[in-house]
């Protein structure tokens, strides 16, 4: 249990996918103009990253490892994630129109998001078991959600601020992202293992 907590808070704060690992930057910059759309994207990412972690874990341990084909994992995971997201989108559209309204437009955007592929490969390199992999997926996506929501709120405020002409739009957004990343590096000093009593 304590180890799961370490993985979760590590994923959200210490190894934040956007601000420390620099994965999933495209939606971070692209879909962060409004808090509302950022929230929609966040929920979709949490959903897909959690699901992808579980499915790729099964695929790796039931097909790739027995056949000694671990070196194929990157390309195989891309295939799985793309197919999975498509399938989930179709199922949601049929079964729950409301959820489709909320998630639908964001789902196709994350088929090839590097954060999703990143979390599955990290699960492998960290040697996580199924439960740990699932927690890591949700934690990584929650960190993504935290970063993009904070960033979107800051950008909404910046819309109403006086910004030098040359810095308007993306330049100031990138500078802000850099400052946020530095702020998040402050968490790097935390020793979660000591905090939760796992050594």
């Amino acid at each position: 249990m304590a180890k799961l907590l370490v993985i979760f808070f590590g994923g959200v704060l210490l190894n934040n996918f956007i601000l420390s690992r620099f994965l999933g930057i495209c939606p971070f910059i692209g879909i962060s103009q409004q808090v509302e759309t950022a929230a929609g994207m966040s929920v979709a990412v949490i959903f897909v990253m959690g699901l992808a972690s579980v499915v790729t874990w099964f695929f790796r341990h039931m097909i790739l490892v027995p056949l000694g084909l671990e070196y194929l994992q990157t390309i195989a995971f891309i295939l799985i994630i793309a197919a999975l997201v498509q399938l989930v989108e179709m199922v949601i559209q049929k079964t729950s129109p409301t959820l489709y309204q909320a998630l639908g437009i964001y789902l196709p955007l994350i088929t090839t998001n590097c954060a999703v592929l990143g979390v599955t490969l990290l699960n492998v390199s960290e040697n996580y078991n199924l439960l740990e992999a699932a927690v890591n997926g949700v934690a990584g996506a929650s960190g993504f959600a935290l970063a993009i929501l904070l960033f979107a709120a800051i950008r909404e405020r910046m819309e109403l601020s006086e910004i030098p002409e040359a810095l308007k739009g993306f330049p100031i957004a990138l500078i802000t992202a850099g400052l946020m990343s530095m702020a998040f590096l402050g968490f790097a000093g935390f020793r979660l293992e000591a905090l939760f009593g796992v050594m």
Binding site: L67, L72, Q86, L87, K94, T95, L160
Partner: protein
Amino acid sequence: MAVAQAVLVLGLTGAVFGVVLAVAAKKFHVEQDPRQGEIVQLLPGANCGACGFPGCSGLAASIVAGDAPCNACPVSGNEVASKIASIMGVELAPESEKKVARVFCQGDREKCELRYVYDGLRQCKAQHMIAGGAKSCVYGCLGLGSCVDACKFDAIHMGPLGLPIVDEARCTSCGMCVEACPRGIIQLVPMSQQVTVLCRSKARGAEVRKTCKIGCIGCGICQKACPKDAITLQDNLAVINWEKCDGCGICVEKCPTKCIVRRDNAVIIDEAASAS
């Protein structure tokens, strides 16, 4: 051997996913009304959101579902509405009249004084947040031109005395300026409605007299004078019911502060031309 195995595994995986997706596409297929696509083709495609639905395709879906009328798109004219109506196989409801944006304030720099010198960001929203704006009337136009910036059709210009002027010929009644105004001074009004109460002040008469030379003091003279009972007093402010008003103009003559105004469309267009 290893290569063959790798190709086989990935190829098979891909094939399985392909089949699964194909089956799912059939099984989870959602019927889409072909009329929806036709209506999307007719709509402007700007996704401006003025209709209140999420983009043009959202409006098309609502029209097909019967949740929105055929003329729900405020930007495209009656021609498009009648084409949509023919796709839907219904008669178009009585022709909806074109609406235009009107500025419900006449308190320009000469008629309404300033309480403080504002030196901040040139946006109405920003000034509105600082003690209710610099104007002595907290309901009046701040005159920083956020509506001018919001207009995508170049139909609003700032007049010489710090009040925006709408070019009614260019106005598409999209409502962007209505949203941009933090005071709610701009409203969409039927184009033929020429008599309007150009004030939004809900303050009591005595207070209005102190702050603005041309505001509505809520005296009720217009209410008594109107032969059609089209004017009512709501929160110390005269409001005209456009459905009852026939534009006779008696109230314009009776109003002691001259805040009820008759404006001919021609005059408004001239004003806009001279302002630009």
